[in-house]
């Protein structure tokens, strides 16, 4: 469980911690802005916020380079931004604009930025685990060593078959995959624990011979340190590793879910232990000035505000884009009478 915020912390590298705070703040600002924009009707559909879980992608991605592929989930804004995608390209994608990272064809649930090694969020829980195993298998086929594939998923995913098949696969073939289970307590809108047998995600990984570490996923330093150990082992060719990060989803399953299934006060209490405020508190204890912390937060917010303004004015994709990138052979022929224009 979470440690008291006031606990003394070994060796606080304030410069590194400020960098991690900045990354978390950027993700937080992006998602809060995206939720507000959605609620204002600026773009359609819904999103799955990861507000409260920012320390996990930030702590892990601090140890990855653009050469390290990452596979994400429907709750993937944090992974995408921590991997290096620009908030402007991401916000434009949420807005469905041509300048979105996927040209407006994927949206939040299929966000991807291959230029930075972010090989896709996924609308199907657990499906990315197999794709991650395969991405790592390709490295083996090509004889490339030293690269790491990171695969994020929630605790709900551990009850799908791909969890067993993918972890077994990665261990059997000794593939360089870091599996990261973000245990936020919920499988969609149900408490994961009431529907999960046994001792949980890490125990399942260990039963397949995959060494694991379990951390307080709201403690950015703990995630950072654990990721260093696990990624290091994988880079040395020691095969897959598993990180279980206990965190908490401060919002509902989607931006439209008020999460009334939680007992009153639970989320409020968890807000007091969110990773950004804990990180800020630790920096204060280490002697960093409040103004410096506030400046980092404000800078993140300004960056996202600019992204929002860009997205609002960005052009829509051309209608023809609905029919491109389906396939090379037998590509679709638009058949609406009168052509594409509405």
């Amino acid at each position: 469980m979470t440690e008291p915020d006031a606990a003394p912390r070994r060796n606080v590298d304030t410069e590194r911690l400020m960098g991690l705070l900045s990354e978390m703040a950027r993700i937080r600002a992006f998602e809060e802005t995206a939720v507000a924009a959605l609620e204002s009707g600026l773009y359609p559909g819904f999103i799955h916020p990861s507000i409260g879980q920012e320390a996990v992608p930030v702590g892990v991605c601090a140890h990855l380079t653009e050469a390290d592929p990452l596979l994400s989930t429907h709750r993937g804004h944090g992974h995408t931004m921590a991997k290096g995608a620009t908030p402007t390209g991401m916000m434009c994608e949420l807005f469905g604009r041509a300048s979105g990272v996927c040209g407006g064809k994927g949206g939040s649930m299929h966000i991807a930025d291959f230029r930075v090694g972010m090989l896709g969020a996924n609308g199907v829980v657990g499906a990315n685990i197999l794709i991650a195993a395969g991405a790592a298998h390709a490295l083996k086929v090509k004889g490339e060593t030293g690269r790491v594939v990171a695969c994020f998923f929630g605790d709900g995913a551990i009850n799908r078959g791909p969890f067993l098949e993918g972890l077994n696969w990665a261990r059997t073939f000794d593939l360089p995959v870091l599996f990261v289970c973000e245990e936020n307590g919920f499988a969609a809108t149900t408490r994961t624990g009431v529907l999960t047998a046994g001792d949980g995600p890490a125990a399942r990984a260990e039963s397949l011979g995959i060494p694991s570490l379990t951390v307080d996923g709201n403690d950015i330093q703990a995630v950072d340190e654990a990721a260093a150990v696990l990624v290091g082992a994988i880079r040395r060719g020691e095969g897959p590793r598993f990180l279980l990060a206990h965190t908490y989803r401060l919002t509902g399953h989607t931006s439209m879910d008020a999460a009334g299934y939680r007992p009153e006060g639970e989320a409020e209490e968890r807000w007091t232990r969110d990773p950004i405020s804990r990180c800020a508190e630790r920096l204060r204890q280490a002697g960093v000035a409040e103004t410096a912390i506030a400046a980092v937060i404000r800078s993140a917010e300004e960056e996202i505000e600019a992204a929002l303004e860009t997205a609002k004015d960005a052009p829509w994709p051309a209608p023809e884009a609905a029919f491109t990138d389906v396939q090379d052979l037998g590509a679709p022929v638009p058949t609406r009478p009168g052509g594409l224009a509405r």
């Binding site: 592929p69 596979l71 979105g100 990272v101 996927c102 040209g103 407006g104 064809k105 994927g106 299929h110 991807a112 930025d113 291959f114 090989l119 896709g120 996924n122 609308g123 199907v124 499906a127 685990i129 197999l130 794709i131 991650a132 195993a133 395969g134 991405a135 790592a136 298998h137 390709a138 490295l139 083996k140 086929v141 090509k142 078959g161 791909p162 098949e165 993918g166 077994n168 696969w169 059997t172 073939f173 491109t324 990138d325 389906v326 396939q327 090379d328 052979l329 037998g330 679709p332």
Partner: protein, 328 residues
């Protein structure tokens, strides 16, 4: 010209592509022992276990891993053992492989081949006998291939491996042992766009067009021969690729003969024959001499007992009878 089996032609095609391109690899259950039909025989000895990969019985992982490996620049050839088992990996094929390029705005390519042995083989019963090609033709993003001859077992597999789209490659279990002449070195480097989506007129004729694929090409040719003795001239078109399918060749033939019979081993209802029938009827309505007809299996699972299996398995006699009825 060399005489070889459908199995051997396919085996050589994979070996040649693996020798040509180091990014081509194969994965599936029991491949290290040559695959359950021998279509991978001796390939491990030649290419090693890292390129002919024995996998756990994890169909979802086999296809899902291939998706990730394809996105990372390799060309995986996936063996599903029996087409029916591919249903355990439908998310991986339909939601992931078929859509990755599109939903990521063109950032991904998923050049994988999923080999699925299809069709009725004696006494394999309901879960080892299906022909589900129509499902795949319905999915945007997929290419669907069904070779009927040893030459095509080679050329279409090579083209499928070179294709940048995900390809479902359907090989009929009853054809593995079929022997025929395979031209030497022709089409040694088939261009996917020039090979896939092209039908073959397996037998020219004037009175009726039979469009078919896979095993039933051979039964349809036998039926055409029987009807020739009755003074009827039947054209048999081997479609070879179901998506994209060669509408030009089919329409030109039916425009000439005025009659179309579509024959497939799959269940008739919602089979791919329905698509062909609809397209031809829409295009040639006024020029047809008879209503378009489909011949496929009844909408029943494939049974075990031989006399029951006979009830759902199409034969040359069935094709002959259907064609004769149309010719009046």
């Amino acid at each position: 010209m060399t005489v070889m089996t459908y199995r051997e032609a396919a085996r050589r095609a994979l070996a040649e592509e693996m020798a040509r391109d180091a990014t081509v690899w194969a994965l599936g259950e029991d491949l290290g022992r040559g695959g359950i039909f021998g279509q991978y025989a001796d390939l491990t000895a030649r290419f090693g276990p890292d390129r002919i990969v024995d996998t756990p019985i994890s169909e979802a992982a086999i296809v899902g891993a291939a998706v990730g490996a394809a996105m990372m620049g390799t060309r995986p050839v996936v063996e599903m053992r029996i087409a029916d088992f591919a249903l355990c990996a439908i998310d991986e094929l339909v939601n992931q492989a078929a859509k990755a390029r599109y939903m990521f705005g063109g950032q991904a390519r998923v050049p994988l081949v999923v080999r699925e042995p299809i069709g009725v083989w004696p006494a394999l019963a309901a879960q080892h006998s299906q022909s589900l090609e129509a499902w795949y033709t319905h999915i945007p993003g997929l290419v669907v291939v069904a070779p009927a001859t040893p030459a095509d077992a080679r050329d279409l597999l090579k083209a499928a491996i070179r294709c940048d789209d995900p390809v479902v490659h359907l090989e009929h279990k009853m054809l593995w042992g079929l022997e025929d002449e395979v031209p030497d070195a022709t089409n040694a480097a088939p261009d996917p766009a020039a090979t896939l989506g092209r039908a073959r007129i397996a037998r020219p004729g004037d009175d009726l067009t039979v469009v078919t694929w896979s095993r039933l090409v051979h039964d349809s040719l036998a039926a055409a021969e029987i009807l020739r003795a009755e003074g009827r001239s039947v054209e048999v078109i081997d479609l070879r690729t179901l998506w994209p399918w060669d509408q030009d060749t089919v329409l030109a033939s039916v425009e000439r003969t005025g009659r179309l019979l579509v024959v497939h081993e799959a269940v008739t209802v919602s089979g791919f024959g329905a698509e062909i029938a609809a397209v031809v009827s829409e295009a040639l309505f006024g020029r047809l001499k008879a209503p378009v007809r489909r011949l496929g299996a009844p909408r029943a699972p494939v049974p075990y007992a031989p006399p029951l299996e006979e009830q759902v398995r199409l034969t040359a006699a069935d094709v002959t009878a259907a064609a004769r009825a149309m010719l009046g």
